[in-house]
Each structure stands twice: as C-alpha cells, then as structure tokens.
C-alpha cells in the first residue's frame, strides 16, 4: 500500500531471486501468432546471449495487453519485468505511477552502445514516451499515415480530371485539391448510392488527429493542465472532414457505403471502390499479398493550402507535409522484480541490432510462407536506414511507398502526451460523429469535447484539496469495532440463562456454522463495509486514499452521466427485450413438448443442451456465428441467401453495428432458452388437467384456455423468471467481455457497455476503486428498487393459489 512497503517487498523478492542461479525475466505483450515471428527471434537471441536470465514471454492477448490485466498485476505485486505497450498509453500509465522511470538507467548506461538515446530516435516518437520530463518507455516500431491513391482509377478518369483542371498523373497535395479530385472521381449508382468514393475523410486511418496536426492544432496546453481541443485550427480541420463528406454525398451515404466493406482481398481500395484514402504503412502488407498487381502509389497526405504554400502562420514552418505516428514501446512496470534483466532486454530489443534480428526473423518466416516481406518502420532512425538498405522490396511501387513512409517519419506528430489521452480520443471521436451528422457545428462539437476533457483534468489536479486518509488506521479501527461487537455478543451469551444441554447444543451449533460465519465476515460483510467506505474516497491502490465525500456518487449523475446512463439503459434494453423474449421462447417450446408428443426426451435434450454449454466457448462460437460478413458468419450467410434475396433486406451488422449489437446478445441468449423450457415443462405438468377439461366443456378455445388457465397457473414461475432475468441482465459481464469486437471499447458506440463491465473497467482497468465502489452500490440500489417494484406489483397478477 505504501511505497516504502512495496520497496521493501521488492528488495526482499530481489534477494530471493538472486539466490537462484537463473533469474526470470517476464515479458508481457508478445503475441503468439504468425506476425510475431520476429519478436520470437529477438527473444531467442537474447536468451542465447544472456544465459544468466530465464526469459518468459507471455501473450496476454494480441496487440498489447488488456489494461486491466497489467493494472491488477502491478497492484497485486506480480508485475512483469517488461511490457510491450502501445506508445499512446504510456503517459496515462506513467501518470498513475504504474511504470518505472527509465531516466536513471539510461544515464547509468551512457557508455553502453546499446543505450537508447534521444538523438537516435525521431523526436516525435521520443516525445510520446516522455511524461513530466521522465522517460517511461523506449519506442520500437513506428507507423505513420500517408495518402494511398489508385493510379489506375486516376487514369481511367483522366479526361474528366483534366477537364476539371487536375493532373491525372499526380496525387492531390492540398486540401482543396483533394476535394476537387474526390468530387471528380466519385461515382453514384442510378439509385443514388455511392458506387465509387473519391475520398472518404475518416476511412482508412486518419481520424480528426491527422487533419488537426496538419493544421497545427494543439489539443493540450504546454503544462498539460488545460485542454485546447476547441481552437481555430481544429475547427478548420473538422470543417474539412465535414466538407469531405459533403463532396461524396453526405455522411450517411458514406457510412452506408462503408458498411458493405470487407477486408483482405475484398478491401474496397484494392477493388477500386475507393480512389484515395489516408492509411498507415501496415496496409502495404495486405496490398502486396492480395493485390500485387494493383497500380497504386503512396504519397504524403494533402495538407491545408496555406501550409503547402507556406503562407500565414505556416510561413516559418519548415514542414510542408505532416503525418501522424503511433506504434509500440517497451516499458518496465512498477514493482517489476527483475529490473536489471528487464532493462537489459529492452536495450537489446530496441537497439538497431535487435530491430534487425526482429526483421530477419519475420522475413525468414514470410519467405517460408511464400509472401513478400515488407519491413515494419521503426522509431530508431538508423534502424530504418539499415532496414531499407537490406529489405528494400524488388517491386518499385512497394519500395517507393516504403520510402515515402520512412521520409515522413521526420515530419511526424503524435497525439498529445497526457493521461487523459483515452478520454480525449473518445471525446474527439464523438465530436467528429456529431459534426458530420450535422447535429452540432464543429465549434459546438469540439467545445463539448473540450469541456469533458477539461473536467477530467481539473478533477486530477484538484484532488489534493481532499483530505488524505490513512487506510491502516481506518482498517484497524474497523477491526477493533468488530472485536468489540464480538466481545459484547460473547458477554451476552455468557449471561443468558441456558440449561447445560442447551449450552452443549449451542456450542455445536456455533461450531458447525463457523465456516459460514468466517466466510460471511471475510468475504461479504468486511468487503461490503470496505466497499461502502471506499465509495466515499478516491483511491487507486498505488497512491494514498483521499476522502471525497459524496463526489463519486455525484459524478455518476453529473460529469459521467453519459456513460452511466448508457450502461444502465443498455442493461434495461437487454432485460426489457431479452427477458420477455426468453420467457416466450421457452414457454412456446415447453407447450409444444407438453402435448404428449412422442420422443419428448430427445427433443428435450436437444433444446436443453445449448443452455449448459460453457459461457465462454459459446460466446466465442456466437461471435463467429453472428459475424457481419455474409461469407463468414452462419446467420448472415443464411440471411444473404434467403431474406436478402426475397425482400432485399440487407443482413444486419450484429456485433459490429451499434444498433444490432444488443439484439445479437439477445439472440444468443435465446439459444439458451432451454433451461427456462425445463422449468415451464415442470410447471405445465403441474396444471391440473381438470381445469382444461372443464374449460372445454364450457366451450373455450385453445387461445382462451391459454390465456385464462395456463398463464394464471404459471404466473408464479413467470414472475420468478422475470425477477431473476432482470437481475441477471444487470449483472451481465462475461459475454460482453468476450464478444465486444475491440478491446478498447465496449462495442460500437458503447452499445455493449453494461454496468458490471463499466465497473470492472473503472475498478480494475483504471483502479478508480472509489468510483467503482460507488457504481457497485448504484447497481445494488437499482436491483433492490426493481425487485421491490416487482414484488409490489406481483399480487395484482401473480396467482399463488396453485401452490397452496
């Protein structure tokens, strides 16, 4: 809890470890798949050169570790020694004190040729790993973005382009040109939908950042305390995006067009459905693999006209073209047990030699698989030069494209280095959406984003105003109170007038229930009190706790209103639609089975089986069954063959679309309706036959019988199911965690954000223990209210006669 504590433990563990002949070096974030062959080569080489270490590389999910995983490890004192992490997140981690500063190590090894020094790196990449003057990671791979344009399409439309005064043999270089080219190259189908899009501003990998960087927008003040998301520069950039969509027929049209896009060999750029796009160098791989003959070129992305002509505020700016770079870096988490080993590995892996070994490993693999090897651009200048010398592709198109990307590295910008990076990203995303849909002007949209981000910043910088708490004291005082209460109880017991036999019985009674008593105190009562207490504090387990009073609860209805509301409304959607549908499906099957049909047991087994399939495999199965791509997903392929052909209704996007993500979960839930069916079957068997016979004599038809006998007789079970179902929907977690399409967000547009997931993310992802506890109590409260309402309403429609 205290740093001194942690340090002591660290020393102790280091001592323990050094007693053994080989020290473990644990590395997280390496993937175990086809594209990690280079990484594996580096690991093997390091192991060979340093027999004193025992390297243990662990994949915790592809493309970087889940933030929650790393945070629990750091807090739980089982942190790895090295973490390979998206560079963009470094400042966030550093601000929470989760990473070690590398300054001392760099300074110590200044004589070592492998020592990473800022002069060897592109300034922007080094800037991204520096937070508050301290270096927290060493950059490795670096990507950047450029304009990909389809030369063949340009040639096809040469006449039209020339008519519009545009040169069909070169790409656009300014924003104005870009829009002019886009307008000329865009084609519409007779029904008004897009056939070929000249340029979709936010397709590929550009976002608002790319255009804003080109226009010199800054998103955060130099001291990091003020968010400046809404500036003249960023507004212009956003306006450009809006205009870009206008040129191709509007945002909605473009989004519809995009929803039909597939990847790999069906990439719309490869197929010539998109003439130009801004994308990263990783795209070269799929182009060379799936469309080696494609006539395309890669050039720097067009910039604002003023920048291109070096006018106005760009008069003194040397950079004509600007790109945006991201990538990976190697860092040491706080609490790493073998810092020395970790640092040795980082130095080796990020050195020019390490980078070359990485590339050689991947190159060998690609050659073995019969693919063209395209090296990954690096943050280290010399590494890039060497790589280009050794692995320059034979194909001149590819070589030129790579050269463009490498040359752009010196003109790269990075996302603002701030701990509110993720919030800023989310908010800018929202602003872009709002502006493009014209629900807000660029100014309004950006201003709103700025407010939200600023609120986060203020909360952080103001938190010192809250009084500090010593949790040790709090804990022991609670323990003391507990002991006191126990003493009182013992005293009361002693003073009770009980017979000898009775006392003997009582002793046995207490003895036998003691497992529950202990469990209750340690795992329920204690945590409950702790949770309630924490909900009034700000506590991240790495720094001291602060008493904030009701602020956490207030935040759920003020600053964080949007997310909380989203989470609960999603849960209510799942419950409101899913529970009745589930009851209906189960009841329908049960009623069919209750007609004394032969083979009941077989049918029952088949309908029940999906309900007992373990959650995780079935969630994995359903992510694929509900894949939006009709050439992969079971449901959509059937849909494309039937419904789409009959009534031309396109297949839904399921988990990849905002509107269909929750229905996807519900459909999957219906698959498990079998357990309900068993219950209904038992209930139906319990309905006296005489009731139906009497009804038949009275001339009641099947529908009448169902409504006035079956439903009332089953109402207690319906009621019970509804209660359990709603409580279950409010506690949904596993399926959402597995089925969300990307690890950063909870489904497209947060459409799968459910309360427990949000709590988990806050609690274990950011270790906002206080806020997460407040959320937990909010969930509890809502469950309580809902249950109370249900019980209140129950007497009016639930019929308990049958039980009596």
């Amino acid at each position: 809890m205290k740093r001194a504590h942690l340090f002591g433990l660290l020393c102790f563990l280091t001592c323990l470890c050094s007693a053994q002949p080989k020290e473990d070096v644990i590395i997280w974030g390496t993937a175990l798949n086809e594209n990690s062959q280079g990484q594996q080569a580096v690991l093997r080489e390091f192991q060979k050169r340093h027999p004193e270490y025992n390297l243990r590389a662990i994949s915790m999910g592809a493309g970087g570790t889940d933030p929650q995983k790393l945070m629990t490890a750091v807090v739980g004192n089982v942190a790895p020694d090295v973490i390979i992490q998206d560079r963009f997140t470094i400042s966030d981690w550093a601000s929470r004190g989760a990473f070690e500063s590398l300054n001392n190590l760099i300074a110590r090894d200044i004589a070592d040729p492998e020592d990473p020094l800022p002069k060897d790196y592109y300034p922007s990449t080094w800037q991204e790993v520096t937070y508050d003057g301290q270096v927290y990671g060493i950059p490795a791979e670096a990507d950047n973005r450029a304009l990909y344009w389809n030369r063949a399409l340009f040639r096809q439309h040469a006449a039209e382009l020339e008519k519009a005064g545009l040169d069909p043999n070169r790409p656009p270089r300014t924003w104005t040109e870009l829009l002019a080219y886009s307008k000329t190259l865009t084609e519409f189908s007779p029904d008004g939908t897009l056939k070929i899009a000249g340029f979709i501003p936010n397709y590929g990998n550009s976002w608002l950042y790319m255009y804003a960087f080109q226009n010199d927008a800054k998103f955060i003040s130099a001291d990091g305390r003020t968010c400046t998301a809404d500036s003249k520069e960023s507004e212009e950039a956003l306006q450009f995006i809006v205009d870009g969509y206008q040129v191709i027929g509007g945002y909605d049209k473009a989004r519809n067009f995009e929803s039909g896009f597939l990847s790999d060999e069906n990439d719309p750029f490869i197929l010539g459905k998109v003439a130009m796009k801004i994308d990263g160098n990783w795209r070269l791989n799929s182009i060379s693999q799936y469309a080696p003959t494609l006539d395309y070129a890669v050039d720097p992305a067009p910039v604002p006209d003023a920048r291109f002509k070096h006018l106005g505020r760009f008069a003194k700016d040397k950079d004509t073209f600007i790109t945006w770079t991201g990538g990976f870096s190697y860092a040491i988490p706080k609490g790493a047990k073998n810092t020395a080993g970790g640092w040795a590995f980082i130095k080796f892996a990020t050195s020019v030699e390490g980078r070359l070994i990485d590339s050689a490993g991947q190159a060998a693999w690609d050659r073995y698989k019969g693919r063209t090897y395209i090296f990954v651009t690096q943050s280290n200048k010399d590494a890039n030069a060497e790589l280009y010398r050794i692995y320059k592709p034979a194909d001149p198109k590819l070589a030129a494209a790579l050269k463009t990307h490498i040359d752009l590295m010196s003109h790269a910008r990075v996302r603002p280095v701030t701990f509110v990076g993720q919030v800023m990203w989310d908010e800018l995303q929202r602003a872009l959406e709002n502006a493009c849909q014209k629900s807000l002007t660029p100014h309004q949209a950006l201003l709103r984003a700025q407010h939200t981000v600023q609120h986060e910043l203020d909360a952080y910088y103001d938190h010192t105003k809250h009084p500090e708490l010593n949790l040790q004291v709090v804990f022991w005082s609670f323990v003391a109170a507990g002991v006191l209460a126990l003493l009182v109880l013992v005293l009361l017991y002693k003073r009770m007038k009980l017979g000898k036999l009775h006392r003997h019985d009582a002793k046995w009674g207490y003895l036998l229930i003691s497992p529950w008593i202990v469990g209750f105190v340690v795992f329920t009562l204690g945590p409950m009190i702790a949770s309630l207490f924490l909900s009034f504090t700000e506590y991240n387990d790495l720094t001291d706790a602060r008493w904030v009073g009701m602020a956490n609860y207030a935040a759920t209805v003020t600053s964080d209103k949007m997310n909380v509301w989203k989470a609960f409304s999603n849960a209510f959607y799942l419950a409101g639609v899913g529970v009745p549908l589930g009851i209906f499906t189960g009841l329908a099957i049960a009623m069919l089975l209750n007609t004394r049909v032969r083979g009941l047991r077989w049918y029952r087994t088949i309908f029940y089986m999906p309900a007992i399939v373990p959650t995780i495999p079935s969630a994995i199965l359903w992510t694929w069954v509900l894949s939006a791509d009709p050439s992969r997903g079971l449901v959509n392929s059937i849909w494309a063959e039937t419904i789409q052909k009959w009534i031309s209704l396109p297949a839904p996007g399921w988990l990849q679309s905002e509107a269909w993500a929750k229905p996807a979960l519900i459909v999957m839930g219906l698959w498990g309706a079998g357990s309900g069916m068993i219950l209904w079957l038992a209930g139906l068997k319990g309905v006296p036959r005489s009731l139906y016979e009497a009804a038949e004599i009275d001339g009641a038809g099947p529908r009448k019988q169902f409504l006035s006998i079956t439903v009332p007789q089953l109402s207690p079970i319906i009621f019970f199911n509804a209660v359990i179902g709603i409580i279950g929907a409010l506690q949904e977690f596993d399926r959402v965690y597995v089925m969300k399409p990307s690890s950063e967000t909870a489904g497209p547009g947060d459409s799968l954000l459910v309360p427990v997931f949000y709590l988990f993310r806050n609690g274990f992802g950011y270790f906002k223990m206080g806020y997460a506890s407040a959320l937990a109590w909010l969930i509890f409260l809502i469950i309580l209210i809902l249950t109370a309402i249900q019980f209140k309403l129950a007497p009016s429609w639930v019929n308990y006669e049958a039980d009596g």
Partner: protein, 568 residues
C-alpha cells in the same frame, strides 16, 4: 454414382448413430432395474446389429465418385410466391387429414380454398420465372428428387405419429404439425453446434466463401514425395522431435535449420550437424492443370515466392515425371471430401509451451472445480444442518442475515475481495478461485436446510440413542438422505466453477495457472484470423461439460425444477 456415394455416407452416419444408441442403452441398462434392464440389453444388441449392418452397407455400396458431390443439405431457396404456395399446400393437407381421420365437416371446403390459393401462387411463381434452388453450395436437387424427399419426410412423420397412441388429442395432422415445428426448432437450436463442429474441421480456404457457408468440408489431397523443395528433415531439438528445413549449409558440415513443425516453435532457427538430419517424405498438395495441351494431375514440387508453382506430373502415364511451372489460377488444387482433424492438434500445439498442449489448463480447471464442489458440499451441508437441527441463541437472526446476503450482487464485493486476496498474497494463484467455496454459500445453505427439515426427526433420535454426536448423525444419517440435492448442488457448483471467467480474468496472470475458459478467450483473441483453430479449441473446452450432461442429465433437469433456474 452420386446417389451411391450419398447413400454410402448416409449409411455410415446411421451406423454411427446406431452404435452410439447401443452404447447408451448399455449404460442405461447398468442403472436400470430388472424388467427394464433386459429390455435395454436386448435393444442394445439390436442397435449394435443394425449399426453393424449399416456399416456393412456403407462398405458395400461402391463409392467411386470421390469428388464433386456434397451431402444433400436441405436448404431450399425459393422466391416468396413458391413459399406461399408451399405453405398453402401444407395447410390443405392438414385440413384434408383432419377431415379424413376426424370426420370434421367443414374442412374439405377449407382444403379446397387452400389448394386454390396454392395453385394461384404456384402460377405466380411459374410466371415470374424465379429460380428455385435446393441445398445451396451443395447439389441442385431435381424437382422429382425434392418431391421424393418431401414424400419421405411426410411418410416418416406419419409413421411416427401412427405409433403414437395419443390420437385422441387431435388427430394425425396436429401431431404432424407439432413434430414438424419441433424438428424445425431442433434444427435451429442444433445448427450452431453443427456449424461449430464443421468449422473446426475445415481447411482455412473453406472458411470464407462468397456462395454461402460451406457445409461439406474438403481437404487437400496430398502425395507423399521426397523430392519437394525445400526438403524436410526430421531431427531433434532440445529433446523434442521436430521437422526442419535447411536455411543454409555451413562449411563445417553443419547447417542452420528452421523448424517447420510442431507449430508452437515454428520459425525457430538453430544449428545442427548434417549427420543428424534425416530427410522425410512431404505430403505435397496435388493439383490438376493443363500441360502440353492435356489435362494432367500432379503434385507441387516447389512453390515460388512470386506465387508460381512447379508441378511434377503423376497422370496421365505418358507424361509422368515431367515437370512444368504455372501460375496458381491455372492450377486447380485437388481436394476430396474429408475432415481436417489437424485443426485440433494444431490448436493445442499453438498454445504457449507452459500449457503443455492444454493439459495444464485442464489440470487447473479440474483442480478448481473439484475443490469447489467438495468445499461447497461440505461447508454448505454442515451449516445447513446446524441451522435446521440445532437450537442455539441467535439462530433465526443469523439465518435471516444469511438469507439477505442472497440479494447482494457480487459486484459490490468484487473490489474489496481483490484487496483481501492481495493482502493474503494470493494474486496469480489458484486460491481465490476455490478457497471461498469452503465457506458455505447462502443459496445452497438455504436449499439444503429445506431438505434437512423434511427428514423425520425420529431417524436422528434413533442415532442419538446409539450414541452418535452431531457430527456423526450429520454424516451417517442426514447426508445419505439428501444425496439427490447434493448431486444437484454439486453439478451447479461444477458448472459455476468451470464457467468462471471473471475470477481468472482478475486473479490469474501466468499461463501455467490459467483455466480453460480464460485461455479460450485469449486464444480467440490471439488467433483471430484462424477460425478453424478457435472452433477446435472451443469444441474441446465444451466436451467435459457436455459429457457430464449426458451422463447426469436427470440431475440437471431435476436441478432446474429444484432451484427454479438453469444454473446460468
């Protein structure tokens, strides 16, 4: 020929089904009482003989047609008008049967009306000229074939209904419709399973198909050849048998080699003396193409990095042994209907080395589930026993507290529990996943208390007179009485522990301590581009639970009715 082939496949499937039923009957006989027992043994023998017969048939029927045909997966693609016509015909049939067997008066009229509607739509369908497709991605059935199949299905349903002695309920028609609906339901519920199994046995190239799902997996035909480039050698690396290719030879009669299999260390390079390398045959893919104006079949000798392939001809005889090079679009890979079982072994090989081909995961998961089951049963029953039979001050208050904790969502205690386990130093250990089970769960205590209460007090009194103390009478008298309830609780706990995902997600950080469900999620993320492997892994992680289900189905179903929910 195609028909023979389909019949043969069908026969072997039926054979497998019969044998499975036979095995099931044997198991059931073990548990059954006398008259039923003989009955079951008899039917086991019967099924066995029939199954054998089917296998024989499958072997006898010549199946020379080795490619080009898929199983008739019945997936009719009809335009709306055809569907409408079909529906009205069914309605007419229903009315007709009602009239024929139940003597209903008005129905012939309805039947005629439905038939007229049907013919109207049929005419519309004919006039539109829309295509009618059965079994997409598979064989296009002829109309006669479809009619025959439909007739067969109807006959089968009638036979089933005919054996039913519950005709009074509403006639054949009703039974037929019920069965039809149920069967459609079964198909819908079973389809994802089927798809899972099929996908887990497909080659990568069959995963994506623009013409709908590929239902009949095919595998590449291979030819065992020694002369392919690169040559593959068998050797050993750190005690493991590996297959390698030579990257380059060094002057000192050693070579730098590159591991090709097992998959887990693919791409690993090491140096080894040439004397330790033994060349092995390679399963080279077979292709067909055109060479010297003839259709030829051969195997790929060497793939070039620009995509071209060098092919050595196998047939026709005249050109055998000759070599030519062509681009892939002119070479059609030779594939046969078959299953790619390698997905399963590959999925295990691709796991990190600590996982020991997945055994570590299985071991961890079993450890957690077994300890949880033991812990839950022991602690919950002890506590429930005390609450139901022993009188002590404060009992009712404590029981009230216990009941109220059932309402508490686990989310509330999630974070503080983490702090508790962290203070205990239990992060990245398996303890947090099973230790709490030894402290009794409220719901199980509540359930068991109901059962204990129903046991007559006299039983226990008798034991007490024999000198038993509470522990004795709990263990000897009470526990045997509630065995069914304990089994149900055991099964629920098993399922809960097996399914637990959030626990490992929070507490487990290293591969050697991972459980199956967490490993499955990580695997699905890691191998996102290889659905075959993912599905194989998912299928394997389902198997133990499904096995438990088949052998203890009765308790599962009892459990649902006992507790009121499905354990999910």
């Amino acid at each position: 020929m195609k028909g023979f082939y389909a019949a043969s496949i069908l026969c072997s499937w039926l054979g497998i089904a019969c044998l499975l039923t036979s095995v099931y009957q044997l198991f059931a006989a073990k548990a059954a009482l006398q008259p039923e027992r003989t009955q079951r043994l008899k039917s086991a023998l019967f099924d066995f003989v029939i199954g054998g017969g089917f296998f024989l048939l499958a072997a006898i029927i010549p199946h020379q047609a080795s490619r080009g045909l898929s199983l008739p997966v019945f997936w009719p693609i009809m335009p709306f008008a055809a569907w409408a016509a079909f529906t009205f015909v069914v309605l007419a049939l229903v009315e007709a049967t009602n009239w024929a067997f139940l003597g209903s008066k008005k129905t012939p009229l309805y039947a005629i009306v439905w038939l007229m509607a049907a013919s109207l739509f049929f005419w519309g369908f004919k006039a539109s000229g829309d295509p009618l497709v059965f079994a997409t991605g598979a064989i296009p059935l002829s109309i006669q074939g479809a009619v025959a199949l439909a007739a067969f299905a109807v006959a089968a349903l009638f036979a089933m209904a005919g054996t039913s002695n519950k005709l009074r309920l509403g006639g054949y028609a009703r039974v037929l419709v019920t069965h039809l609906t149920l069967l459609v339901g079964c198909v819908v519920f079973g389809l994802p399973f089927f798809w899972l199994v099929i996908t887990s046995l497909k080659e990568d190239r069959d995963m994506v198909s623009a013409n709908g799902i590929i239902w009949v997996p095919k595998v590449q035909q291979t030819f065992s050849a020694m002369d392919t480039v690169p040559s593959i050698y068998a050797t050993s690396f750190e005690g493991r048998a590996v297959k390698v290719e030579i990257m380059f030879k060094s002057p000192d009669s050693s070579a730098r080699v590159n591991v090709v299999s097992p998959a887990g260390i693919q791409g690993l390079a090491f140096d080894t003396p040439l004397s330790k390398l033994h060349q092995v045959a390679v399963d080279a893919p077979e292709v067909t193409g055109k060479f010297k104006g003839l259709n030829v079949m051969g195997y790929v000798l060497e793939p070039f990095s620009d995509g071209r392939q060098k092919v050595k001809v196998l047939t026709p005889q005249g050109l055998k042994g000759q070599v030519f090079t062509d681009i892939p679009s002119n070479l059609e890979p030779l594939r046969k209907v078959g299953l790619r079982w390698e997905n399963y072994s590959d999925a295990l090989e691709y796991l990190p080395p600590e996982a020991d081909n997945g055994l570590t995961y299985l071991k961890n998961t079993l450890l957690i589930t077994i300890l949880s089951v033991i812990g839950t049963i022991l602690s919950s029953s002890l506590v429930a026993y005390a609450f139901s039979r022993i009188r002590f001050p404060g009992r009712d208050v404590l029981f009230g507290i216990l009941l109220s904790t059932m309402m508490l969502p686990s989310a509330v205690t999630l974070l503080p529990k983490f702090i508790v386990f962290r203070q205990l130093g239990w992060i990245d250990t398996l303890y947090p996943l099973w230790a709490p089970a030894f402290f009794a769960s409220a719901f199980n205590v509540f359930l068991l208390r109901q059962f204990f209460k129903n046991i007559p007090v006299e039983l226990e009194d008798a034991a007490k007179i024999d000198g038993c103390n509470y522990l004795h009478s709990y263990w000897r008298v009470m526990m045997p009485q509630v065995k069914p309830a304990l089994t149900v609780i055991g099964i629920w706990t098993f399922m809960g522990a097996w399914n637990d995902f959030m626990g490992p997600l929070i507490y487990i950080n290293s591969p050697e301590k991972m459980t199956i469900s967490y490993a499955a999620q990580l695997f699905a993320v890691d191998r996102a581009t290889e659905p075959g492997l993912i599905m194989a892994f998912a299928a394997m992680s389902m198997v133990p639970v499904l096995l438990l289900f088949f052998f203890a189905q009765r308790y599962f179903i009892e459990g649902v009715t006992l507790t009121g929910f499905g354990g999910k």
